[in-house]
Symmetry: C2
Subunit: 157 residues, 2 copies
């Protein structure tokens, strides 16, 4: 049974928290549109799912399922970092937002981002941050985000 | 008793993992040089310290103490995000790197960054990322980092 909160109950495109059964609905294939993501065994998927679930509200992955097709068409994640700064406040980090290429133009990215941002606010974060390409800047600006810093990266592989 | 790994045993500026006793050695005052960080009560500090300690290797704060003065002069943190992408790999996020204004020019930032980056590699991350200002880009480039994306932010307060 789904446990998320539907954004619009009259619509078949609602935001839910990821469930184990979403693996069989194309969740991994959706991630493959974002970056390298080979097939994951059921065992590995279950193990990672349980690791993340044990973090409760501190790590949430949400999905939008097109229930008419039984297919996951959008996802995004948010995790909470606990700080000492600002009187031990918290910061949310949004990651891995992807809208399936066959589901663009329906505001699904905005729905997922709204869900993740609301979660960050709900758990008491003072800000939420994310890294994106220059090409996606305009989308996040429409969602109320502003450009601030630059991202630096070091790869080990 | 300190539990970290000294980078250079002949030197009084070594990298250790944060300990509760570091609060009385100017750790919070050092964070105040980075951003807003009012005084933290011993109770709040201990609570946050224990929350973070319970995450083990998934969230590490390190410090450099100038033992000749009993003062924390540099800090930085790293936390591990567990992903589904790339066959359930992990990504490290480095945050809150600060070198005390009275301790610049001694490569302490580089020491801390090296400690945090090595931790990321040790726990099996495929990459490590951080956000910084344009002014600090050159420093991170010297440490082997490359610019990639842009950071977007939304504040709730």
């Amino acid at each position: 049974m789904q446990t998320g909160v539907p954004l619009n109950e009259t619509c078949n495109l609602q935001v839910w928290k990821l469930e184990i059964s979403d693996k069989s609905k194309g969740f991994v294939e959706l991630l493959q549109q974002l970056t390298v993501c080979d097939a994951i065994s059921d065992e590995d998927f279950q193990k990672r799912f349980q690791e993340l679930s044990s973090l409760g509200d501190d790590h949430v992955i949400c999905v939008i399922e097109d229930t008419s097709r039984g297919k996951i068409v959008t996802t995004g994640s948010v995790f909470i970092e606990k700080k000492f700064i600002r009187n031990c406040r918290k910061v949310s980090h949004i990651e891995d937002v992807v809208v399936g290429c066959d589901s663009r133009g329906m505001q699904l990215g905005k729905k997922v981002l709204s869900f993740l941002t609301d979660h960050a606010r709900f758990v008491g974060c003072y800000k939420v941050i994310l890294d994106c390409s220059n090409e996606n800047k305009a989308f996040y600006e429409k969602c109320g985000y502003k450009r601030k810093e630059i991202q630096m990266v070091k790869y080990f592989i």
